[in-house]
């Protein structure tokens, strides 16, 4: 379970990104956060991932007070529990697909056999086996997105956060992403999606669509 309790985030120059937000996400739910750019959706995701600290209030992820603990504890918690798909994917262009996907496992010192088995699983799941050795800079937008999703899933996290994952994709590729979401949802993962793409608002397997406006939860 994920909880934001009376959480506010004020960036420099007094930009209020979130204003005393109270929100709860249950385990296994797929939730869509909708709203225009700058409404506070990405801030909610970053707070849940522990990438930033709130200005006031508290963020709890699986009973862990993620906003209270030091950054190095948050990093290890994130490594075990959270997969994050960034809007611009944040892949390393000069590395291959496989190397990018394996990056989150580097600090774990796993055996080669374990690494290979995990890599093969996600490559297969997200249908990018044939691109394994291709450099990321030579991939199409859809392939880059699937690589980013595969990387977010390499640790089999219970929570997946995706920030505008279809912003750079055409409709066909966005529909492919919806299939991926369905698959992840069937695996009982908690998925929180921040998007303003209307394609996601009417999906039958979405549990909740939450409107975020001016740093507040509207519905």
């Amino acid at each position: 379970m994920i909880k934001l309790i009376n959480t506010s985030k004020i960036y420099d120059k007094n930009v209020v990104a979130l204003d005393a937000v109270n929100i709860e996400f249950k385990e296994g739910e797929l939730i869509v956060l909708k709203g225009v750019s700058g409404s506070g959706k990405s801030t909610i995701l970053s707070l849940i991932a522990g990438l930033i600290k709130p200005t006031t209030g508290e963020v709890l992820v699986n009973e862990k007070k993620i906003s209270k603990i030091a950054d190095h504890f948050v990093s290890s918690f994130r490594q075990e529990n959270i997969g994050f798909v960034f809007q611009k994917y944040n892949l390393i262009n000069t590395l291959s697909v496989a190397e990018n996907i394996l990056l989150p496992l580097v600090p774990l010192n796993l055996t080669k056999v374990e690494l290979k088995s995990r890599l093969e699983n996600v490559l297969k799941l997200f249908d990018i086996e044939d691109k394994k050795d291709t450099l990321v800079k030579n991939l199409s937008g859809g392939e880059q997105q699937r690589t980013a999703i595969a990387r977010a899933n390499i640790n089999s996290p219970k929570i997946i956060l995706a920030d505008e994952p279809t912003a750079n994709l055409d409709e066909k590729l966005s529909l492919e992403f919806i299939d991926i979401l369905k698959e992840l949802k069937s695996q009982k993962r908690t998925i929180i999606l921040a998007t303003h793409d209307p394609l996601f608002f009417e999906l039958d397997f979405v549990d909740k669509v939450i409107q975020v406006k001016n740093g507040q939860i509207i519905s």
């Binding site: 309790i5 009376n6 600290k53 709130p54 200005t55 006031t56 209030g57 508290e58 906003s67 209270k68 603990i69 030091a70 950054d71 190095h72 504890f73």
Partner: protein, 319 residues
């Protein structure tokens, strides 16, 4: 005022330390005044960020201060070349009334700074940051000692006059005077060595039976007994001179800089031993400290013991 490149380096570093220490001091006061881990207020989140900044500043400041002690000793030794009468750092230390106090203060600070680093490590390993208040409170006290050290350092170096003739170590550490020092130095080797090896044997026993407070206390004792036996007995075999009792000369090239090694090993060994009595470590951590302490103390014992043995093998007599 005497200004050598080494003294200038120390002054510049002192200024930097002072600058960062003042920042850390202000942060520490703010943290101690309002810290409440459970609070979810703007102030608490800002204090959390300040505590990382403060801890990082203090930690790196102390990390640098530890090896700088050796640089200080090196500077004293180097100054002996320009002070008439001085043969090593001992002459420099004896050249004015502040140097001895400074040297002892630096030694105490060395152990206290290292203790703070251990405390900080523990705090960083604890999600609830239970050691946070303790470590910043201790820093407030250490700040005072650090400032005192910097002030004394400035006064000490600025009162060195290269025109004054100073005593050499042979006179300072003579066994013919009626001072406490000369009485200590003229202790019978039999008593001294018995104390030294008995102290170490007790260290081994207390480590085996995990008697942490006794182990810690014995390490404190080991510092004094080791230094005394080094200067009064083992040193004479390093110098191969029965009347020479100087704690500085073996820092020189002539003696392969063995003093740096011996003092370094003794510090690591005794510090790791002392700290087990002061900090509640996990089982794994405490074992690591016992092991490190015993390893370095043993290394110290082996090296100092080898000097008289090798001398006897080479010459067939004891000094």
């Amino acid at each position: 005022m005497t200004l050598t490149p080494e003294i200038l380096t120390i002054y510049i570093l002192d200024l930097l330390f002072l600058f960062f220490a003042i920042i850390a001091f202000i942060l520490s006061l703010q943290i101690l005044k309002s810290w409440n881990f459970e609070a979810t207020t703007k102030l608490q989140y800002s204090l959390q960020m300040k505590s990382y900044l403060g801890s990082t500043i203090i930690k790196y400041m102390f990390y640098i201060k530890l090896p700088l002690f050796l640089f200080f000793i090196f500077t004293l030794d180097k100054l002996s070349f320009i002070l008439p009468g001085a043969m090593c750092g001992a002459g420099v230390v004896n050249s004015n009334e502040y140097a001895t106090v400074l040297l002892f203060l630096k030694l105490i600070n060395l152990y206290l700074f290292a203790y703070w680093i251990v405390l900080d490590k523990l705090d960083m390993q604890d999600e609830q940051q239970r050691y946070l208040k303790q470590k910043f409170t201790i820093f407030i006290a250490l700040f005072t000692l650090l400032v005192l050290e910097i002030v004394l350092e400035y006064i000490m170096f600025s009162s060195i006059d290269v025109k004054d003739v100073v005593d050499c170590c042979g006179t300072i550490f003579s066994t013919n005077d009626n001072t406490y020092l000369s009485k200590a130095l003229s202790l019978s080797p039999r008593i001294l060595l018995s104390l030294f090896y008995m102290n170490f044997s007790l260290l081994v026993l207390s480590a085996i039976f995990r008697m942490r407070y006794i182990f810690s206390l014995l390490n404190l004792l080991f510092i004094f007994i080791s230094l005394l036996s080094l200067v009064a007995f083992f040193g004479t075999y390093i110098y191969e001179l029965p009347t020479h009792h100087c704690p500085f000369c073996f820092l020189q090239q002539e003696y392969s800089y063995i003093g740096y090694f011996l003092y370094g090993v003794l510090f690591i060994g005794t510090f790791n031993g002392l700290v087990v009595g002061f900090v509640e470590f996990s089982k794994k951590e405490i074992s690591r400290h016992y092991r490190v302490s015993m390893f370095f103390n043993l290394m110290y014992i082996i090296v100092v013991t080898l000097y008289p043995i090798l001398f006897f093998i080479r010459n067939g007599v004891w000094l």
